[in-house]
């Protein structure tokens, strides 16, 4: 991982480097309006493992905007050696127009008040919140209890989460992995009443906890089939959210863990902030004849197709340490005799990983994917795919191993993919009735669109862990 000090030093390096100063002058730009950012270089098949920590630096032009990412200065390649903090390679290849500043601003002060602006709307709790925060880390809310920790790489770590039934309990641990920059390290201060609602508590400045009420219905029924009676019972949905925002350069990642009274845990990642764009000679779609793997989102501005994958390390101990992974398949059963006028039914065929099982129902927690159980589009032999081999499947199950903590490997900077979940799993270990870890990867293939310019509306994706024949009845009555 890059430390914040290393990142700052890297970003300032080109500004006093003579060839770079000359490149800026040659483009007719003002040096004081230039800001630079370092990016990991990756690995593209070089045989020898690099012993140098290095980054590629990309510079942007401000001059009338604060949205630097929409104004990349193209044609210059700068490689910085981190440990020496020197420029190891500098090439000024060609001059490409810098996209214009016009329309890139997203700050209110420069914009006229939008007609969309609503009257103020607030979530209020006159009697205060219903959750408590013991010793700064342990949250209790209704029957839920869990521990919130903070990790420089993972960001929020939820552990020892349990919801008590008559006699059952369960534990959940989730890690969030953010390769080279660290989700924890990039956590940003949350703005009151905007990043989190009015009723939120901060825990330190980068994590907030609040009760969420969106006007949704947890369950309801209107009964009019009972003669002489009119029954209506509605229970509004109130849940508890633990939120963190990590800004990794241009992108802002919102991470929510939502605990529901029904025992469900919903995990959500929202993507917002600024696209990483390339400057380009194109000002209109008709000019583009070659494949650019991008959308022209504004004049001279290409937004490249790219992926975001998120892997959660779910160390579920449902009703004890020994767990199994059961896959439920829905299967059509054809009616072959005259036992029914129907021609088919469907049923649930449960399959316990590795060996068959005659379990009729699944007891425990069920993973419910959201809309984006995305699989990779890169070829298996492409270097980014080798390094991110863990994205090949959405679900992996491994026996718990203390050293297998990060799906992308302990060190990801310029990694060759030899320490990933995909490699560990080749050992094909026993996973039935073991202390197992469920790794769930989901994500988005992001095809940028004009509406993402100059700032992206939040694109969110989620999954749920839902109790399934775990409680003996609806736990919220």
């Amino acid at each position: 991982m890059l430390t914040l000090q290393e990142q700052t030093a890297t970003d300032e390096l080109p500004l006093s480097y003579l060839p770079f100063i000359s490149s800026i002058k040659k483009r007719g730009l003002k040096l004081k309006e230039v800001a630079c950012q370092g990016y990991p270089v990756g690995w593209y098949g070089e045989k020898r493992k690099s012993t140098n920590r290095m980054v590629k630096v990309i510079c942007y032009y401000l001059d009338g905007t604060i949205n630097l990412y929409m104004r990349p200065i193209e044609g210059i390649t700068i490689i910085v050696l981190i440990d020496q903090m020197t420029i190891a390679s500098y090439i000024d290849r060609l001059i490409v127009p810098v996209p214009k500043a016009n329309g890139t601003d997203y700050m209110g002060s420069k914009l006229q008040r939008s007609s969309h602006e609503s009257n103020s709307i607030k979530i209020v709790q006159p009697d205060g919140p219903s959750f408590t925060l013991d010793d700064g880390n342990t949250v209790r809310w209704g029957d839920w209890k869990f521990h919130v920790a903070y990790d420089m790489r993972a960001g929020i770590i939820i552990s020892l989460a349990s919801m008590f039934d008559a006699e059952k309990e369960n534990f959940v641990v989730a890690y969030f992995d953010a390769g080279e920059f660290g989700f924890g390290l990039c956590a940003v201060e949350l703005e009151p009443s905007k990043d989190c609602p009015e009723n939120a508590k901060k825990m330190p400045n980068v994590i907030c906890i609040f009760e969420r009420y969106a006007g949704d219905i947890m369950w309801r029924h209107t009964e009019d089939a009972i003669p002489g009676k009119k029954i209506r019972k509605v229970r509004p949905e109130v849940s508890l959210v633990v939120r963190m925002v990590s800004t990794v350069g241009n992108y802002d990642y919102i991470t929510d863990y939502e605990f529901k009274q029904s025992g469900t845990i919903k995990v959500m990642v929202g993507l917002t902030g600024l696209l990483e764009v390339r400057g380009s000679i194109y000002t209109h779609n008709d000019q583009i004849k070659a494949e650019v793997y991008s959308t022209l989102i504004a004049e001279n501005t290409l937004g490249a197709y790219h992926d975001h994958f998120f892997t959660y390390h779910l160390d579920l101990d449902v009703d004890g340490h020994e767990n199994s992974f059961v896959k439920n398949n829905l299967k059509t059963r054809r009616v072959i005799n005259k036992s029914s006028p129907r021609k088919s039914y469907w049923t649930v065929v449960s399959e316990t990983a590795e060996t068959e099982s005659d379990a009729k129902i699944q007891l425990g927690y069920c993973l419910i994917p959201g809309g984006s159980a995305t699989s990779p589009l890169l070829s298996d032999n492409d270097y980014p795919q080798i390094r991110g081999g863990f994205t090949k499947y959405n679900v992996w199950v491994t026996p718990y191993n203390k050293s297998e903590k990060w799906a992308g490997g302990l060190y990801t900077d310029q990694s060759h993919g030899d320490d990933t979940l995909a490699i560990w799993s080749l050992r094909d270990r026993e996973i039935k009735n073991k202390d197992i870890v469920l790794w769930y990867t989901f994500g988005v293939h992001h095809v940028p669109k004009q509406e993402d310019f100059p700032i992206m509306p939040t694109l969110s994706t989620s999954f749920e862990l839902k109790p399934t024949n775990f409680f003996q009845h609806n736990p919220v009555l």
Copy 2:
């Protein structure tokens, strides 16, 4: 469709029918605790079309609960002719235990206050709502304008929805189809502050409109790459929801149309209420040796596997009447020469329905499925599947035709599937640059679980219509 009068008369018919009274006595039950409900009979391959409107009546036992659906009286088959309002067939086959009343209640009065109960939480708007309701049907909110109508079968109909950009506009019409009972006819009165939040307006008693604020972030960015500046800009997400609840017997369907400031329309259906269960001899899973196509959700109570499919009729006129349907496929492109150290990239290949197109970007609205673009599990030749042939694909596109309004056909009661979307589409009409209708079907395969007893936590499913290169930039700055 069955009228409310017909439904009430049907439900009362068995209670004065002597053979039924004797069946109740034989089971040791009290007649005054019995309540009955009529259900459509469907079609199971009979060659001749029935000219009779008929329903099957199922009776339930109250005696200590108001949750009749958890206490079916099994073993009795009653067929009622609607037009004559007489019992045409009555068979008492066998006696099965009635599931017990214990634990089936969902009303607060009988339950002790749950430890989950939160302090009060409210959405407040001190300056009142930001939307207006002209002539009782036209809603204006920010740049959005649309018309809300009410149909006995479809429920809410949103029409003439538009969001004004500089010069563009678009229209959306959506129908909601609810076969035999009518979503509109079954709409129930909404409970203030529970079915809809405190800031909602009712429009009549069965539709509510409110601004939704859940503490979510519409877009944000923290910028620290500009030397000497610290920038943070966060815009909270506030949307407008139009909601209706339809209770069809035991099930409660929540229908939300959510209009976002970003131009996105999110359509959500929530399923709650009471499962339809069967009484059974089983009290424990170990006793079940045969396939029962069900989960034993409580003693003597089987919850059958079943499906819910919802079809939306989306008559989108994006920037005019003539529209085309473009399918965007993400494709891997292998690098075959040495032009890049990479081995692959991915790109977007657009395909206009019927003929190829070289369009580089999609202009217009994009349909984003939620987690449940479910396909049917029944065999094609099974009668329910023939009648519901429109569920075979999630997406259908037809040229607009005034008579093609209901995906399941104008008359669905005992229909033979000869007037459905699947049949109309066999004509394979031209759809390029036409006034087209997009039919989107989504749903859930519901495998009941213990947590659905005695009342189901809301299971929701959704899709979005998202502007994609339609506006020239993020419309909410």
